[in-house]
Amino acid sequence: MSHSASSTFDRWSGGTCPFDAGWRKVMMWWFIVTDGLLFAGFLAAYGYARLLAFHWPDQAEVFSLKYIAAMTFVLISSSATMATAVDAARKGARSTALRFILLTAAGGAIFLGMQAYEWSHLIAEGARLNANPWGDAAFGAYFFLLTGFHGTHVLTGVIILATTAIRTAMGRTQAEGVEMAGLYWHFVDLVWVFIFTLFYLL
């Protein structure tokens, strides 16, 4: 047996991890995959509704795309601050990590505030789960479903970040804990890339 075949066999023979990662990270990745599939299901259902619709509203008439772009800017920026926090935590720079975790949480809170404003604005204009003034009824349902489910993830992320910040300030979080919070936060950003493109732009 060659060396590479032997080492592959060793990795899969039990007792060692084929992914060469800690159990926390592997579990976080499994969570991300399953949660990602949930969003994939929602987006597939949205695509289905869109194909069925006789009159899907023109997004440019319903949304202010500049406003949605600003929300995207906030979320992308918060992902960069989170990556910086993870990097600082790995290097043992606790105060820098804490500062960037707090910046990330602030970015998440700003995003949520902007989304709340967008929701209240559209509700005032007549958007409902089962009806809306612009076109096919499914439009309102999928708008609230997709952005609401994503917003819930952002809210959860802000809570996780606040907890991580408190624990970091107390010196009770290891670098891996900050990395796990970071993985979740980047996943929230990743999902927004799909929602932004498929729901708001296409």
Partner: protein, 96 residues
């Protein structure tokens, strides 16, 4: 740390270009292809650089990426033709 802010800049440039494409009067098929390509590129950049998948062992990266992409593709490929068929039938027999 520098590479994270470079990634941030690249993502912003992609977002601005996507918004420009939305306002430009591109043919619909070219617009859709461009948007899907830009979306997948942005997602790959986030996964590779922010989520550090490019530094992980290939078995982990492949399990995550292939698992997600294949299952999501199955969802679209199996559902979309069905939706198109129903759409066609609705067109034949009138609105719901």
């Amino acid at each position: 740390m520098k590479s994270y802010w470079l990634t941030w800049l690249i993502l912003l440039v992609f977002t601005v270009v996507m918004l420009w494409a939305d306002s430009a009067s591109l043919p619909r098929s070219a617009f859709v292809v461009f948007m899907l390509a830009a979306m997948l590129t942005k997602a790959s950049i986030i996964g590779a650089n922010f989520m550090h998948l490019r530094f992980e062992r290939a078995t982990l990266a492949l399990t995550v990426v292939v698992g997600l992409l294949v299952t999501a593709t199955i969802l679209y490929v199996l559902i979309a033709p069905d939706a198109a068929r129903i759409h066609e039938m609705a067109g034949t027999y009138g609105p719901r």
